[in-house]
Amino acid sequence: MPTYYDTEVASRLMLGTAQYPSPAILAEAFRRSGAGIATVSVRREAGSERAGQAFWDLIRDLGVHVLPNTAGCHSVREAVTTAQMARELFGTDWIKLEVIGHADTLQPDPFGLVEAARILTDEGFKVFPYCTEDLVICEKLVEAGCRVLMPWGAPIGTGLGLNNIYGLRTLRAHFPDLPLVVDAGLGVPSQAAHAMELGYDAVLLNTAVAKAGDPAAMADGFARALVAGRMGFEADPMMPRDMAAPSTPVLGQAFS
């Protein structure tokens, strides 16, 4: 099972906590997913209803590791300050670092991401960078102190799956011992299985589960796909070939 900054997590699934139809469905989706990590955010307190406290109570009851994010931050300063606030709020030095560079694709700003990763690592954070599959940027993130990489499969919330198989495979080959997590863009369980077959350590989902017609069933489906895909990877798959090769013995065939 994957180990992030010396913490082993007994699941290959990280699950987001946003957009569920109800808190009860969120909890049921988590239970059936077997997710070991929940992603959360910090947002402005509004009014006196203390929604933040109620949400925190719900997350604590899930019994999983908490990974706060810096979602929506477009500058290094915003991301760093948000991370600092998240560390105090959630009592963890884990941070899913997002520095967004483009409004339409929510593509990470690679320059800001590396700079923020360096600052936060120096402050003792354990940074989980939401990045693209760009090999050079990923090398810079590792140089900055990141001990896990979280490349997108496709833009957040699109459900398009793994858009650059070559890039993801290259990252896996280049960082054989680093935890790699496909973060964002997955829509259906087969895409998660594919990520596992590429040798990825985990996937991070939110929209695919929360926006499914039956979020708990979809969470269950992803959990099974992760097991299937990982088994396929570990079992050393056959090499594909272009021409057919009969699987039934030719020797002894009647009428030959």
Partner: protein, 65 residues
């Protein structure tokens, strides 16, 4: 004095960040704070004096992906 609290302009008589949290009813709430985009740890709120025009953020745990 006039400050911007969570993006909204408002008047306050609070002299410190801790006073402001009391004024807002957040004294014992699970919140984190920043002033002018700089994080202010919980332990520093009592000493952190507010100035006219400060931009204060008060945040809390929320859903995220």
């Amino acid at each position: 004095m006039n400050i911007t609290l969570n993006g909204t302009s408002q008047q306050t008589g609070a002299e410190t960040l801790a006073d402001l949290l009391n004024e807002m009813g957040y004294a014992d709430a699970r919140v984190a704070t920043a002033v002018n985009e700089e994080f202010v740890p919980a332990a520093s709120r009592t000493e952190h004096r507010l100035n006219d025009g400060d931009r204060v953020e008060i945040v809390t745990p929320r859903q995220g992906g």
